[in-house]
Amino acid sequence: MKRSSWRILLFAIMLGFVLALAACTSGGEKQADQDEKSAENGKKEEKSGEKVYSIEDFSVETTNEGEAIEGGHFKFGIVTDTAFEGQLNYNFYSGVPDSEIIKWFDDPLLSADEKHNYTQDGAATFEVDDSGKVFTFKIRDNVNWHDGKPVTAEDWLFAYEVIADPDYTGVRYGSDFTVIEGIEEYHNGEADSISGIEVVDEKTLKITYKEASPSLLSGGIWPYALPKHIFKDIPVAEMAESDVVRKNPIGFGPFKVDSITPGEAVVLTKNEDYWQGEPKLDKVTVKVVNPKTVVQALKTGEVDAVHEFPSDQYPDNAEMSNVEFLGNVDMAYTYIGFKLGTWDKEKKEVKPDPNKKMSDVNLRKAMWHAIDNNAVGEKFYNGLRWNATTLIPPSHPNFHDKDNPGVAYDPEKAKKILDDAGYKDTNGDGMRENSDGEELVINFASMSGGETAEPIANYYIQAWKNVGLNVQLLDGRLIEFNSFYDRIGQNGDDDPAIDIYQAAWSVGTDVDPAGLYGRDALFNFPRYANEENDKLLAEGVSEKAMDLKYRQKVYNEWQQLMVEEIPVIPTVYRAVLVPVNKRVINYSIQYNWGDFHEIAVTQEETEKAK
């Protein structure tokens, strides 16, 4: 007995040692890790002196030359550190990984050009009547589901009926749908059918909208059909988990799903009956690739291309010999927002508060003048992000106002504006007080994530300090994603401690920014509202704005208004990079590109890095 209790004690002591050792070592490891990282950063900074890339130097299409071989097996990687969800249908998916799989076997019925406008080249053509409210769609005769049954108007209507159904489990039912006549009655269970959608004949569908709007023509129409002959017997609430979504998904795209390894990979074979013509590839494998190992996967030829390459790994791999990097402007921007009010939960609209710390436009303007976003782009992102000027990114070439310079970096001007507006240092601590002589401390909320999050936040704080503004990181640290958006107000409960914050938006295909800056938009996190703004936003989606020139004018005015009012400072635009193996031809990352059947390869095996 005695012995064994000794043994236990000994074990406990040993365990203690092991833990202590493990703790020491892992701590030490981390330290070393950090040292290594900062050493790496050092290297990068050295490099960045000479290596600054520009999006202009990237092509959006592969430039590889060569004779395509018959067939071939293309391997596509989805860069994510989680498994894909496996909701493999456009009407039910919610994650990006799933949509990157669906695009290989299903098509939208409407195609769009690189300016995000619908064209007549898709699986369906359309006509708009003179009022701009009634759309008549005609699905091409040769568009058939993978099981050989034709894609019908009935199938398209069915997609609308399912999404508007009260039992629908996804998040797609929103403003794209509520603009259709009679759909709200259907959603609320007051009507048995959607009065605004009519099946004219087998291949013709007519949709009546409540109002004419240019938004409808740039991504405002739900372009996906749902095969009624397959789904009709499944209750709507159970559709998303059914086998026809998870195990044997169906579409009418260039490839057919052959087999699925849940969470890992999908193998597809070509659909000879594809409406745009027989695909050149025989087989496509889509698999999940971890962002930590994506470089190796590309070098060893495990994948031919990935959906998106982590751009912070680009500078170290720019010379990878077996791939060509394609680049495009991302449909997104990063920004710094100013809290100008609160969210009124009752009225569901923004309540501006003129007594907020940041409500003086001069202060906001000075803060914009004080920061050098081009330097941020070059130093931290090697030029793969660059100074943003307005709130419509250049990914929308029709509407991004190239001639609007935004507010330029000019710290002297910033100081002058602050001086003139009465922000003076009255107590001699080197920091400005506000115009009433009270101490001014601005709380800055910034999200954690990535190596550069902290240095960038610190850079901004330093830049503001240089013009005499005392900006402090909220709580003295970066905030994790979920709590960040909770505190910014994704539920309407804004944290009053936050004065300014840094975040990013990805933007939709339609340029209309009402969902982000409208008076009734919950995502209007700055809680900014202004009558001129309301007017312009309404004007931008009005019937008159069906005329492109007029719409451009409205949005140019809106961009200018935002530059004057500065509810947020757009900081950087960003590039999206996609490496593609040199054996691949006819591949493109242009927005809305839909010619997957044209992709071909020039040799049987994926080229490996030298």
């Binding site: 998040v171 403003s175 390894t261 919950l522």
Partner: protein
């Protein structure tokens, strides 16, 4: 003995209930929920709110907990929000992978531990022993997640001997010979990586036990009887030294659970560990609670298993 097992299981029940409550509360304390990742101007906030209401995410935690428990007792662990499928089905998919990974790791652990432990104990304080002990110390000191990354880099990418992610080559017919071989092939590297680190405890244990047993009187008696050295080690020392190793088996299972979380994340191996990580990050509560509950049950059963094995190996131990 049966009485003992039943009693142990009864004690286990409140432990599991307590565990599930703790897990549930902690999951609720995490900021954000399954829908907060969907901040996207293309998605109507009203639609998100509607889903939130439908899923009961706005209810207080005890209401959600009672709902969950009521259905869990009926064998329904709820619906994964993220995967939009029943949690039982989801876990079923993943559990198989983790089970094989765990089994392979255990096999490798003992394949490595037993010869090393015996050699090291039998020839203690020789060069051989020092090398083995040296390895165990390095093993103790190396964090699993760093070691696994190095293994992946060396054997997966640089040498290309093993696949670098996933549980099976996509596109093979399930059940076919190629499919099974591919599964085994995908298992090897993660299992060996984990075994090389987790085995060091067992090696050390076995070593000290053998050194201990070597000096006991019955060994002397055996030698005096004229038993050959090999027989002395095989029949007398080895058997008696296995006791603590067997006792450690249950803990080994607990350790495996912690290990799989790292290993599966690094090797993108879709098992329970990866599922757990993802679900925590994505706030998929129903999955998190279910997975933790299963982990908890596995640990408790592991400990029970240890006791039972112990009584089988050594009849002197009576469990009351």
């Amino acid at each position: 003995m049966w009485k003992f097992i039943v009693r142990r299981l009864l004690i286990t029940m409140p432990q599991i209930v307590l565990l599930s409550i703790l897990v549930f509360i902690m999951a609720q304390l995490m900021p954000g929920d399954a829908l907060s990742g969907l901040i996207d101007p293309n998605i109507d906030p009203a639609a998100i709110e509607e889903q939130r209401e439908k899923l009961g995410l706005n209810d207080p935690w005890y209401v959600q907990y009672t709902d969950w428990v009521t259905s869990a007792i009926q064998g329904d662990l709820g619906q994964s929000f993220r995967f939009k499928m029943p949690v039982t089905e989801l876990i079923g998919q993943r559990l198989v992978n983790t089970f094989w990974l765990g089994l392979a790791t255990l096999i490798f652990t003992y394949i490595i531990a037993i010869p090393l432990g015996i050699t090291s104990g039998r020839y203690n304080d020789t060069l051989r022993d020092q090398i083995i002990t040296g390895y165990t110390y390095i093993g103790f000191a190396t964090p699993l997640f760093i070691f696994a990354l190095v293994m992946l880099w060396v054997f997966g990418y640089s040498l290309g001997w093993f696949p670098t992610g996933g549980s099976v080559e996509p596109g093979l017919e399930p059940g076919s010979f190629a499919y099974i071989m591919s599964k085994i092939n995908h298992l090897l590297l993660p299992a060996i990586s984990m075994a090389l680190i987790t085995t060091v405890n067992t090696v050390q244990y076995l070593r000290s036990e053998i050194i201990d047993t070597k000096q006991k009187d019955f060994v002397l008696t055996a030698r005096a009887k004229g038993a050959s050295e090999a027989r002395v080690y095989r029949r007398h020392i080895f058997r008696n030294s296995l006791l603590p190793v067997a006792a450690y088996f249950g803990f080994e299972i607990t350790g495996l659970i912690g290990g799989t979380i790292f290993i599966e994340t690094i090797f993108s191996y879709p098992g329970m560990g990866l599922l757990f990580m993802e679900s925590v990050l994505q706030r998929d509560y129903s999955v998190v609670t279910s997975v933790v509950l299963l982990f908890g049950i596995a640990s408790i059963l592991g400990a029970l298993l240890s006791d039972i094995i112990l009584s089988l190996v050594d009849p002197r131990i009576r469990i009351k």
